[in-house]
Amino acid sequence: MPEIRLIEVSKRFGRIEAIDDISLEIKNGEYLCVLGPTGSGKTTLLRLIAGLLRPDEGEIFMDERRVNELPAEERDVAYMPQQYALFPHMTVLGNVAFGPLSRGKDPAEASRTALDMLKLVRLHERADALPSELSGGMQQRVALARSLASGAKLMLLDEPLGALDARLRVELRYRLKSMVKNLGLTAIHVTHDQREAMIVADRIVVLRAGRSEQIGTPFHIYQRPENLFVANFVGDTNFLDGTVSKADSTGSYVELRGGLNVRVQETSFLTGERVILTIRQELTSVKAYGWESVNALPGTVLAVRFLGDYLRIEIRLMNGDEVGAEVPLTNINTYPKIGEEVVVSFKPLDVSVYTTPPRGLAKEIEVA
């Protein structure tokens, strides 16, 4: 099984820095998700590993072998692009047998391997169909069978669920991961959907403008984002701008504009330092006006949106800042009304603190 190492890899297209000095290690059998907004370099990264592009700088190793100059056909990887790229003039069986045939198996053996893989994805009965005769979900399974039949141990999946409808996407993401794990493969899965990444990944690398912003487990990325971009891109987050007014060994106080005070557990910031506080919206609660506790910020309800299993309540705080709270329906006794005065509350433990970026919050978190 392959272990992949990227060392200070860069790739430019003209003046555009598509991949900028990325170092990354992917372990045997790992399922790694590359998460990032459109244009962040996700596909370029995948194509560099596939051997479809050559890095301008840096080195790529597969099982300790430097592969910078090794062409795609000799890398033993299976690349599955977003629209699957099934060969339209070949049957399903022809598509799946293409890899084994290209790798030197005789036609009978290649057909056997292809049929085995089609059975695995439960499409052997459609072996004689053309790709155009299949639904989106079936096409995805054929593409998967084709990748598996090639015998490659490294799967490079570029938005593998992106072309499917929402329901099917949810269903197939579990199946995809379990299949990769059961067969003991290594997978690099590119997506811009943070929920998909959270569910399937062993580890996630967050990309932005060709640079790696953070690498870690889904839990780590979600709970401890290393910067404001990751905090914003992964999950729904409230941002509050303030100044550290008091710091001691158990925590700090941050004064927001309008005289509101927030207690945080963070102790590494100095009094007078400008900071940005982030609180996950699902860790933000909404209480009746008059509620008293640490971090109880009064405000007015701006909007209430019903999202099935929870409500998203948007509130304008007394100081004019706007925050959101995602409240499970089970925690709701009465629906808040627009214009109603409420108290927004959160625990000091759930507040992350970041130095205010010199170029401003909006620039720091913009995704495109």
């Binding site: 596939a50 795609a72 056909e73 692009p81 293409f98 290209s102 036609p107």
Partner: protein, 554 residues
């Protein structure tokens, strides 16, 4: 089914494919293939027409000091460009509604119209010239019906009518393709925003398809500028550029021939360069909407009037003059001429020989273009030389189409006689290869561009080498384009007259021989001429049919 069980030729082929597959893994071999295609294009296709004319530059000064000859040359050149401009403009006016009608309307009659619209394109232009001449000018044509001697005598009007007929399918075919690929969502959006259909077409569709409209105009323009054989048939004593060159060559006047050729080459290239550069800046009027008028033009009745007038123009100016060739040709079938023709005696011996020459030359030119044009198409489609250089190559590939073929022939003749000292047959093959190069390389580049690169990427990551990926993925997906482009090369080459008369003295191709027959009816007689034309049409139809059947089976 396994490779080991194969013997003889299949095994040899397997071996060759395996070898090519192995060789393609080497970047040096891949680069060498592309470099070879590039060098062939530059040395064999691009440079000879330009250098050839420069070699005889000294002859031009004699002509410049001969005022009567200069005046004749000037008026011929002016006539060429004026007719080409008028024809292209009128073709655009008539062809755009026809293309729209073919794409939008449903029914069997639309398929018939669609097929009929191709006829002037498929049949050799010489036969079209004969057909147009008979239809408009001979007593057994429309003139006879109207009881006039010649409705249109040979001369500039008949040339314009002829050029209108053979340029029309160029516009229709190109625009049908564009309209079919056009995303109707833009027009739907315009209509839901309150624009009537006419306004939506004028302000949105026309603007979006502007590059295609300009390309269609330029193609029609170059076709008109190049045509020689059919023009000679309908020109009478009138001279445009190509006829001037043809006459000058017959009279052994090398100086005037080189002068007019070089001016035609220079002005054509300049016009195409200017339109190519300024085309993107050209704005179709789309800011003003004449609400009342355009609502009226969008009504069902107005659309019916537009469709009816489109069909009338097509029927009267394109289909009827093109198909009319059948009537005079039929006479030869029943008066004993057919028997003489089939025995190959008398004038028919050189006819059959010329037909064989035409097809041998066309097949060799098509073969060379398929082999050499394919790598060039890949270079253009996949931008193998980087964005800018590839764009330059893409523009240069169009040069053989831009240059009037008779001028190109003059230049090639000078070049290959000066440098190659080649036999006449091979000069003819090289001339036809040059003239038809664009007809293969350009459509193939477009076809390859239409195939997602991801298919090739996936093929390679699945273990297939570059040649294997090309053979198993690109080739099957472009086979229709390969065959249709090869047919285009074949058709163009068989019908070619201009460059042929400029490069050969001894050899004769079928269209050149027919021009001689048609312009000397007193020697050959109408039955012989009609039958000769019919044979050429039949040969073109048979080869097209054969290839279409092959395609259907494939």
């Amino acid at each position: 089914m396994t490779g080991d069980k194969r013997t003889g030729l299949p095994r040899l082929l397997d071996g060759i494919l395996a070898l090519l597959d192995k060789l393609s893994a080497s970047p040096t071999i891949r680069k060498g293939t592309y470099l070879g295609a590039l060098l062939f294009f530059v040395i064999i296709i691009l440079i000879p027409p330009i250098i050839g004319i420069l070699l005889k530059w000294s002859l031009i000064s004699e002509t410049l000091q001969n005022p009567p000859q200069m005046a004749r040359a000037q008026s011929a050149i002016l006539a060429s460009f004026t007719i080409a401009f008028i024809v292209s403009f009128l073709d655009l006016l008539a062809g755009l509604p026809m293309a729209w009608l073919i794409v939008k309307r449903r029914g069997r009659w639309v398929s018939v119209i669609d097929t009929l619209a191709d006829i002037p394109f498929i049949i050799p232009t010489v036969t079209l010239g004969y057909s147009v001449l008979t239809f408009w000018s001979e007593p057994n044509g429309i003139s006879g019906l109207l009881d006039v001697e010649h409705l249109f005598s040979p001369g500039p009007i008949l040339i314009t009518l002829l050029h209108f007929a053979f340029s029309y399918p160029v516009i229709v075919r190109l625009m049908v393709g564009e309209f079919q690929g056009y995303n109707l969502v833009y027009e739907t959006a315009a209509r839901t925003l309150g624009a009537p259909t006419f306004t939506a077409f004028r302000t949105v569709t026309m603007s979006i398809l502007k590059p295609a409209i300009i390309a269609a105009f330029l193609l029609a323009f170059s076709r008109s500028l190049s045509e020689t054989g059919a023009t000679a048939i309908v020109a009478g004593t009138f001279e445009n550029g190509p006829i001037f060159i043809r006459n000058a060559r017959s009279a052994g006047q090398e100086g005037p021939m080189v002068l007019v050729s070089s001016i035609l080459i220079a002005v054509s290239v300049a016009i195409f360069a200017v339109i190519g550069l300024l085309g993107p800046c050209l704005r179709f009027p789309s800011k003003k909407v004449w609400t009342g008028l355009e609502w009226r033009l969008s009504r069902r009745n107005a659309a019916m009037v537009k469709d009816a007038s489109t069909l009338i123009v097509f029927g009267l100016l394109v289909a009827s003059p093109s198909l009319f060739v059948i009537f005079p040709s039929l006479a030869g079938l029943f008066d004993g001429t057919l028997q003489t023709a089939l025995t190959g005696s008398g004038v028919w011996a050189p006819f059959w020989s010329s037909l064989v020459t035409s097809y041998v030359v066309a097949l060799i030119a098509a073969f060379i273009n398929v082999i050499i044009g394919f790598p060039m198409a890949v270079i253009i489609a996949r931008r193998k030389l980087g964005t800018r250089f590839t764009a330059l190559m893409d523009a240069l590939v169009a040069v053989p189409v831009i240059i009037p073929s008779v001028a190109l022939g003059v230049s090639l003749n000078i070049f290959w006689n000066a440098f190659g000292n080649l036999p006449e047959f091979w000069v003819l093959v090289l001339a036809h290869t040059t003239i038809t190069y664009t007809y293969f390389a350009r459509p193939m580049a477009a076809a390859i561009q239409g195939i997602s690169e991801e298919l090739e990427d996936v093929g390679r990551t699945l273990g297939s080498r570059p040649f294997g990926t090309f053979r198993k993925i690109v080739l099957p997906l472009t086979k229709y384009s390969i065959f249709s482009s090869a047919v285009m090369v074949l058709t163009r080459s068989v019908g070619e007259t201009g460059a042929t008369v400029a490069v050969v003295k001894r050899l004769q191709t079928a269209p050149v021989l027919l021009v001689d027959w048609i312009t000397h009816p007193e020697i050959y007689g109408p039955s012989t001429v009609g039958l000769g034309v019919l044979f050429l049409v039949l040969m073109a139809s048979v080869s097209l049919l054969a290839i279409r059947l092959t395609l259907r089976r494939g």
